[in-house]
Amino acid sequence: MNEQLRPLSLLCELTYRCNLQCPYCYNPLDLRAYRDELTTGQWRSVLQAAADLGVVQAHFSGGEPTLRSDLVPLVEAAAACGLYTNLITQGTFLDDELLDRLVDGGLNHVQISIQAPQAALADRIAGAIVHDKKADALRRVLTREVALTLNCVLHRLNHDSIEEVIDYAQRLGIRRLELANVQFYGWAYRNRVALMPTLEQVRHGEDVVAAARERLHGSMEIVYVLPDYFGDFPKPCMNGWGRQFITVTPNGYALPCPAAAGITTLAFENVRDRALGDIWRDSASFVRYRGTDWMPEPCRSCERRELDWGGCRCQAYLITGDPGVTDPACSLSPDHASIASLREETSGAEPVYRRA
């Protein structure tokens, strides 16, 4: 195996259960198919196998990972393998007791998401009355020996509040803020006509972020995730298929990308049936789009082929039905016109809330 092809990051999607119903969720629509969750022992084996492969960071996410009663022992197990541990949560269950146990267990970083800076809008997007609880969780984390990122996913319903999100973060004393334009997979893809930001919102957002970065230089780091459908080039999804990232779903499937289960033309393998290292090295699904040999034109001869790796396979599949073509988000893609029509196909209709 090429030394470069060492996974660095493992995303453990512990459960897809969640007490919120955000319509921008990237989780798959068929949530019920994932109820046969891995046991504590199986997750421990996954963590050890990942560490043996060279993974350095374990991210615990979902769904809502704090709904797993074994989250603390799993964080402890990851830390015992030498892994950096990150909890990606919406924070509604992060009380003092759980937080202390997590930090004592070796948790290094927490990412808490809010749906909007105003309670009424946030609770409307979440489909639950939870905004104030999140502020409590954020304050609690700030007092502990653990790093914190505040995340807000941006879409048409909250994009106009981007400045208020930054103010909210500043008032709380947040050091690291992630403003992530919604990516259209799973529930978000289903709800794209309701969630698609307008071009004006996107441009305004860029200006606000640029000004805030200058104003807050040295006191707040702002990570801005660009919108998928508005650029000239696609995102370097996962830094290339099967190059650095492994996702394991609640029921044990190993995926090169958290959205990959949506690609029904590929057969993914399960850690219950095969060792994670073998899946990583030579399963058909991980090998299929690894590197550059699989690329069609215009990627194959493109000077950006090792910058954006052809973009996102899941997006290519969702939009064209073929995961092996250039990501239509790329302006050089022959399918790029589909992106423009998706971008313009918007409506004020209510989104469909995520539910099992």
């Binding site: 660095l8 060279g54 350095v56 960071q57 991210h59 030498g82 950096y84 990150n86 290094n108 970083h109 990412q111 020996e145 653990v146 790093a147 914190l148 990122t149 050091r175 690291r176 230089h217 040295g218 780091e221």
Partner: protein, 87 residues
């Protein structure tokens, strides 16, 4: 960062040594691969050792002048400080 300042790592920042001798700085949602002088400098970060002492140790170890090491390391430490990775 002043030469007399004693840097320490921010929350959620960890140095990691790999079996093959490479050193990474693990940070919230990322990892920075360090070259040998940067790794040597960050290994000395403990909240009690002043920057000037770290620079001198790295200069001696890599056989460069303290001025040269100071320039390179100040820039690195400055960048890490701005991102909250060093305090």
């Amino acid at each position: 960062m002043k030469p007399t300042a004693c840097p320490r790592f921010g929350k959620g920042v960890k140095l990691r040594h790999d079996g093959n001798g490479s050193v990474m700085l693990l940070i919230p949602e990322g990892a920075l691969v360090l070259n040998a002088p940067a790794a040597a400098a960050l290994e000395l970060v403990d909240g009690t050792r002043p920057l000037v002492e770290i620079v001198a140790a790295v200069a001696a170890r890599f056989d460069v002048t303290a001025d040269r090491a100071g320039e390179d390391l100040s820039e690195l430490f400055e960048r890490l400080e701005q991102r909250g990775l060093l305090q």
